[in-house]
């Protein structure tokens, strides 16, 4: 693989996804409204009920809004990862996926480019969300805004790879909507996005373990720690391993020799 060709291809795919995203302004606002509603309404309403005691990485008592901010960043990445996979199913149905897959580059690299393009779009949304949250008195350390970038990229890659993996097994767009409901909501609610895991443990031991084993929890914790200038080795390791596993399965799924793709593109 020629490095210059690879870079041009990456730039092309990222530009295309960004242009499509900017052309669909409704999608941009919809993606932002979701976490903002949670921040402005849900968090305000539950502030007094769901008090959060001192838990790492926080050094002191914090407002509930501050606690769920990393979870809402995770929400942006999760929805975006699934949205970009949805667009792959759509592209496959509409035919534009064929154009990508017959490009003279290794298929794993083309899929990685698609993944990175999705993450680039999610990053833009995440920083706009953080900027709005700042006016809502969410003030992480200034340097945290920079340190959270690699954490957002890693978590975004993991969630995008998960979506990519799911898209390789799904035949039609209608089926993917079902998969999203079975994946997004359980992943989001059974995680540390809205409440710390120790609080879940008070209610149910098995639910605690579900949350603990949920890769999304580790994505959020990676973001939470990075935003407050700390690093969670455990979360980083889980996120990296899950990304590699999800991406590998997706690459196999999109391989015409081994995967299920060949039977998915309608034959005539």
């Amino acid at each position: 693989m020629n490095a210059q060709h690879a870079l041009r291809c990456l730039y092309g795919i990222v530009s295309r996804e960004s242009l499509r995203f900017l052309n669909q302004r409704g999608r941009f606002f919809a993606a932002l409204v979701r976490p903002l509603v949670w921040l402005f309404i849900f968090a305000a309403g539950f502030r007094s009920i769901l008090g959060v005691s001192i838990v790492p990485p926080y050094q002191t008592y914090i407002l509930y809004e501050e606690y769920i901010t990393p979870g809402l960043l995770g929400m942006i990445l999760l929805f975006n990862g699934m949205q970009s996979s949805l667009s792959m199913v759509y592209d496959r149905e509409m035919g534009s996926m064929r154009l990508l897959l017959v490009s003279p580059l290794p298929r794993w690299y083309l899929l990685l480019c698609k993944l990175l393009a999705g993450v680039a779009v999610a990053l833009l949304q995440s920083y706009v969300f953080l900027a709005i949250a700042w006016f809502w008195d969410i003030h992480p350390p200034v340097f945290g805004y920079l340190l959270v970038l690699p954490a957002l990229v890693l978590s975004g890659l993991m969630l995008g790879a998960l979506g990519l993996m799911l898209s390789s097994f799904v035949k039609q767009l209608e089926n993917f909507a079902g998969v999203m409901n079975f994946v997004i909501f359980p992943m989001f609610f059974a995680s540390s996005a809205l409440y710390p895991l120790w609080q879940i443990r008070d209610a149910s031991e098995w639910l605690y373990w579900v949350g603990y084993l949920n890769p999304f929890t580790h994505g959020i914790e990676l973001i939470r720690f990075a935003l407050y200038l700390q690093f969670s080795w455990q979360s980083a390791a889980v996120v990296v391993v899950c990304t590699l596993v999800f991406l590998s399965v997706a690459v196999v799924g999109y391989d015409p020799l081994r995967g299920s793709l060949a039977r998915k593109i309608d034959a005539r």
């Binding site: 693989m1 020629n2 210059q4 060709h5 690879a6 041009r8 291809c9 730039y11 092309g12 795919i13 530009s15 295309r16 242009l19 499509r20 052309n23 669909q24 509409m94 035919g95 534009s96 064929r98 154009l99 990508l100 897959l101 017959v102 490009s103 003279p104 580059l105 290794p106 015409p256 020799l257 793709l261 060949a262 039977r263 593109i265 034959a267 005539r268």
Partner: protein, 258 residues
């Protein structure tokens, strides 16, 4: 490029390709060749296996048996070298309707790894050749069916491929647009010495073929130049030839008395 025997190497060779779909044999023992500057027509009814064959040639599917060589490169072992030599117009449009004509062409150049300055020149030339210059800034969704097909053809040729694959490329076009589109592809084939494999189920698109393959129920039931096939099967029209060949194949498959 010439082979060891001194003969010009075909830009496309398929050897005994077989493909099954849910245990049903969709393509059976398909062997064909396309040479440089040759306009080859693959004629077959809907469901004959044309699109499946194109999916095998472009690497979207992997064959159960057989081989595909593009410009001498084995698609299975030298996939990227092989794919770099083909331009494809798929049956279903593959252009991005949300992007402009120019953005679609740029995107394709980037996928093919064409340097920015070269891409600029190539795109300007392609727009002019295919009468799309005035539409460059327009979104694809604002173009007519014929203009969209012209854009697909322009895009497929941006990287100067040796082989052009056209899978039912005129579907959805009116007669006038179909004729214009076919003629411009033929012109490109002659001028650039590009090998063209044109899949169709329409009889009126067959007449200009340098060589014809007839695909019926996943098998090549006849191939040759049109005059040779007409003479061989004692037919005076293409319609008659098609009916004769298909009926012969059906009765052969069903056995005597069918």
């Amino acid at each position: 490029m010439e082979s060891a025997s001194g003969q010009e190497q075909p830009v496309l060779e398929t050897h005994q390709l077989c493909f099954s779909f849910h245990s049903k044999r969709v393509l059976d023992d398909v062997t064909m060749h396309v040479h440089k500057g040759q306009f080859v027509v693959l004629l077959g009814a809907n469901g004959a296996g044309k699109t499946t064959l194109f999916s095998l040639i472009t690497g979207l599917y992997a064959s159960d048996l057989g081989q595909v060589f593009i410009g001498g490169s084995d698609l299975r072992t030298r996939t990227q070298q092989a794919l770099a030599q083909i331009g494809v117009v798929f049956q279903k449009p593959t252009i991005d309707r949300d992007l402009s004509v120019l953005q679609n062409l740029r995107y394709f150049c980037q996928l093919q790894g064409i340097a920015r300055s070269d891409a600029k020149t190539q795109i300007a030339l392609a727009l002019e050749q295919h009468s799309l210059s005035e539409l460059a800034g327009r979104k694809v969704m604002q173009l007519s069916g014929g203009q969209q097909r012209r854009l697909e053809l322009a895009r497929a040729l941006l990287h100067k491929p040796e082989l052009l694959l056209m899978d039912e490329a005129t579907v959805g076009l009116d007669h006038e647009s179909r004729t214009a589109f076919l003629n411009s592809t033929l012109q490109l084939c002659r001028d650039n010495k590009t090998g063209v494999l044109w899949a169709t189920h329409l009889m009126d698109e067959v007449a200009s073929a340098d060589y014809l393959y007839l695909l019926h129920q996943g098998k090549i039931v006849a191939h040759g130049t049109i005059p040779a096939l007409l003479a061989q099967h004692q037919q005076s029209t293409l319609d008659g030839l098609y009916r004769h060949l298909v009926q012969t194949d059906v009765s052969t498959n069903q056995g005597p008395g069918a």
